[in-house]
């Protein structure tokens, strides 16, 4: 079966800087993905609820406020609780490398910092989907 990748892009927390989230959303659309954009100021509950209903392959969070060590684990925990075990949690923002490693150890996917080439992030997501899904991506 052939399918399009569905991705949820969300901005959790109070931060409103949405340049990165929007650029990434546009890049994902242009890479043929279906992007569900939730807008600003989302709670982990709202994000996971949307991820379930939209049956997405990937949840991507954009966090520039420094609250990543609170927000990523909260979303991840809720995803597990609700049975989203085969959905990738990834994202980007101003996240120091050691925090990235700590989050990866928790089960969060690769995180992308400033200066990332959007195509690199898209490649990563496509690869993840091809490894974890049986359908062919179109």
């Amino acid at each position: 079966m052939e399918r399009k990748i569905r991705i949820l892009i969300a901005k959790p927390g109070l931060d409103g800087h949405d340049r990165g989230a929007k650029v990434m959303a546009a890049a994902c659309r242009d890479a043929g993905m279906e992007v569900i954009y939730t807008g600003l100021r989302q709670t982990p509950e709202m994000i996971v609820n949307a991820a379930i209903q939209e049956d997405v392959d990937i949840v991507a969070l954009s966090i520039l406020s420094g609250a990543h060590m609170t927000l990523f684990p909260a979303v991840l925990k809720l995803m597990k609780e609700k049975g989203l075990n085969d959905v990738l949690l990834t994202g980007g923002g101003i996240i120091p490398e050691e925090d990235m490693k700590a989050l990866e150890a928790l089960g969060v996917g690769k995180l992308f910092g400033p200066g990332t080439n959007t195509q690199e992030a898209i490649e990563y997501m496509k690869n993840w989907v091809s490894k974890h899904r049986t359908y062919k991506v179109v």
């Binding site: 931060d15 340049r19 890049a27 659309r29 600003l40 609250a67 910092g113 400033p114 080439n117 959007t118």
Partner: protein
């Protein structure tokens, strides 16, 4: 240039129109001489800061470069410093009178920690304070609000009540140091905290000087830290303009900001046009309130980004002054010269910095700061090299401040006014950016049914016009980088694959959050809660009756009502804004 009309071969038969032009030109030269004389007179009257104006070769440095014969439209387009339309700067002697204010934006953790940093900065030659608040405060939430979890003290200092502000300003003479506060949606509340804190120390509010960012329109357009819907938000800004006009003559009620518009990905022309349009919208709203333009306009200030494209930025600053002066004088009929002058703060572009090879950011910031100085800024914040990684460390902040000091004292550029004025290229670029801004003005006004800037800007926000323009520019820029059409050193070229980042990173622990929560708990139990209820009821009444909220907010501040408590009451009256995202 392109306006050359005379055919040199046929000089005998000069047509009437050319002879008229010659006549006009003679007239212009006369006017030029007069203006020059006025500038020279003004210069003599101006106070000099007593700097050493000699080059490194000990040769005296000229204060201003002038053409041998003035080109066409010299006075209308370029003119003299301190003279309309202020293209070359707002003062006749510019930095020889007073250097720009070196104002480093800072704040983190608890008010206690930030207060310590302020004392450190003042001791190191910083000349003004600039408060960065944390996200919960920016969003009008107390440190113990569930939404604040994980964000307390992260991007700035947490201030939830007058008590926090008193700690923040402890040992600082609020009648002497000017303070700039980066706060927008709940600006009037933090301002009230600041005023109350000063008054408790015995400083009269009329003696306090500083700037409130207080620019809600750019929040809707770019930074997205909005709370109330657009119209009540503008009403609240006008409340503060009115209050400042009546009670705080030394305070800049608003800093009309392009910085965040640029950081969100706009072009230079968009930054310029949207910012000035926002400013004119506030002016129209204040005029609608019945204020006199010459009473409040002198206290309006602007805040621009200085990005990496050197000449474009300089041209942008010069164009900004010219456009502003024209519109203030010709469209709003301001009479005072000070109302025509665009004064601005500048911050170097955070978005131009790279997480890769972060030391290179020192160089980028230096060029950007130089552009701001060549563009005639009144105050400047230089970013620290580690800002793309985390909050700036003390060492990084010091280097950033030193960068400004090197520009001010070593490289000589501050001794000469507008040294790039008259450069064919820079003048051309200034004209070009100006024209682009006017084209945006036309579009913005049209969106509001050609009834001025205020309806145009509101319509532009609500229809997503600004947001779409910016998102598209940001995406285009990213595509240029992805394709390597545009090179950023260390990011998409000259990459160091084995790079190890060894910049010490300042980390904010969750301790700040715990401490703030405890303090708030104590505060809520110790204050007179009946008084709190009374003050909140008065605030609500003020919102419902559309009176100036500053007075009840000050009452609330003194009664130790918290930020979040006030905002909740106001949300119940005004509602909350939700943005439809556009791409």
């Amino acid at each position: 240039m392109s306006e050359m009309k005379v055919n040199p071969i046929d000089s005998s038969a000069v047509p009437q129109s050319i002879r008229d032009e010659d006549q006009n030109h003679l007239h212009e030269i006369e006017k030029y001489q007069k203006a020059k004389q006025k500038w020279e007179d003004d210069l003599k009257k101006s106070k000099d800061r007593g700097g050493y104006y000699y080059s490194v070769s000990s040769s005296p440095i000229d204060i201003l470069g002038l053409p041998e014969t003035p080109p066409k439209h010299f006075l209308e387009k370029i003119g003299f410093p301190g003279q309309y339309p202020y293209t070359r700067g707002i003062h006749p002697n510019m930095y020889r009178g007073k250097l720009w204010t070196m104002r480093q934006f800072s704040g983190f953790g608890t008010p206690e920690e930030t207060n310590e940093r302020y004392h450190y900065l003042l001791q190191n030659g910083q000349t003004g304070l600039s408060v960065a608040f944390d996200l919960p405060t920016l969003m009008g939430r107390d440190s113990d609000d569930p939404w604040s979890t994980g964000e307390v003290g992260k991007c700035g200092v947490a201030v939830s009540s007058l008590r926090d502000m008193e700690v923040l300003m402890h040992g600082i003479d609020q009648g002497n140091v000017t303070t700039s506060m980066t706060i927008n949606s709940p600006s009037f509340i933090l301002w009230a905290f600041y005023i109350a804190a000063g008054e408790k120390k015995g400083t009269h509010r009329s003696q306090m000087g500083g700037t409130l960012q207080n620019d809600i329109l750019k929040e809707f357009i770019a930074q997205k830290e909005f709370i109330f819907p657009v119209r009540p938000s503008i009403k609240l800004v006008v409340d503060t303009i009115e209050f400042a006009t009546k009670e705080m003559p030394k305070w800049n009620s608003i800093s009309i900001s392009g910085y965040h518009i640029r950081e969100a990905g706009s072009t230079a022309a968009q930054e310029l046009a949207f910012t000035l349009a926002d400013g004119f919208a506030y002016i129209e709203a204040a005029l609608d309130r019945g204020l006199d333009i010459d009473d409040f306009a002198p206290r309006l200030s602007h805040f621009f980004n200085s990005h990496i494209d050197f000449f474009e930025e300089i041209a942008k600053f010069r164009a900004a002054r010219r456009i502003y002066a024209r519109i203030m004088r010709e469209e709003y009929h301001a009479k005072k010269e000070r109302s025509w002058m665009l004064r601005f703060h500048t911050q170097t572009a955070g978005c131009s910095l790279t997480a890769q090879q972060p030391e290179n950011n020192i160089v980028r910031t230096a060029f950007e700061a130089l552009a701001a100085v060549l563009g005639g800024t009144q105050s400047l914040h230089t970013n620290s090299m580690d800002e793309t990684l985390a909050l700036p460390s003390e060492k990084a902040v010091t280097i950033a401040l030193r960068t400004q000091q090197i520009i001010a004292h070593e490289i000589g550029v501050a001794h000469t006014i507008d040294p790039l004025g008259g450069s064919w290229y820079v003048e051309q670029l200034t004209d070009k950016i100006e024209a682009e801004a006017y084209e945006y003005f036309r579009k913005i006004k049209e969106l509001g049914g050609n009834r001025g800037f205020l309806p145009g800007v509101i319509a532009g926000i609500e229809s997503g016009f600004f947001q779409r323009e910016i998102a598209q520019a940001a995406y285009l820029h990213q595509q240029e980088l992805d394709r390597k059409d545009r090179i950023i050193v260390g990011v998409n070229d000259y990459v160091d694959p084995d790079e190890k980042i060894d910049i010490p990173i300042l980390k904010i622990t969750e301790e700040a959050e715990l401490r703030q929560k405890e303090i708030l708990k104590k505060l809520r139990s110790e204050r007179d809660n009946r008084k709190v209820e009374q003050c909140l009821a008065q605030l609500k009444e003020s919102c419902e009756n559309n009176t100036n909220v500053m007075y009840p907010v000050l009452e609330c501040a003194h009664a130790m009502v918290t930020l979040g408590e006030m905002m909740n009451v106001m949300k119940s009256v005004y509602g909350e804004y939700i943005e439809d995202s556009v791409f």
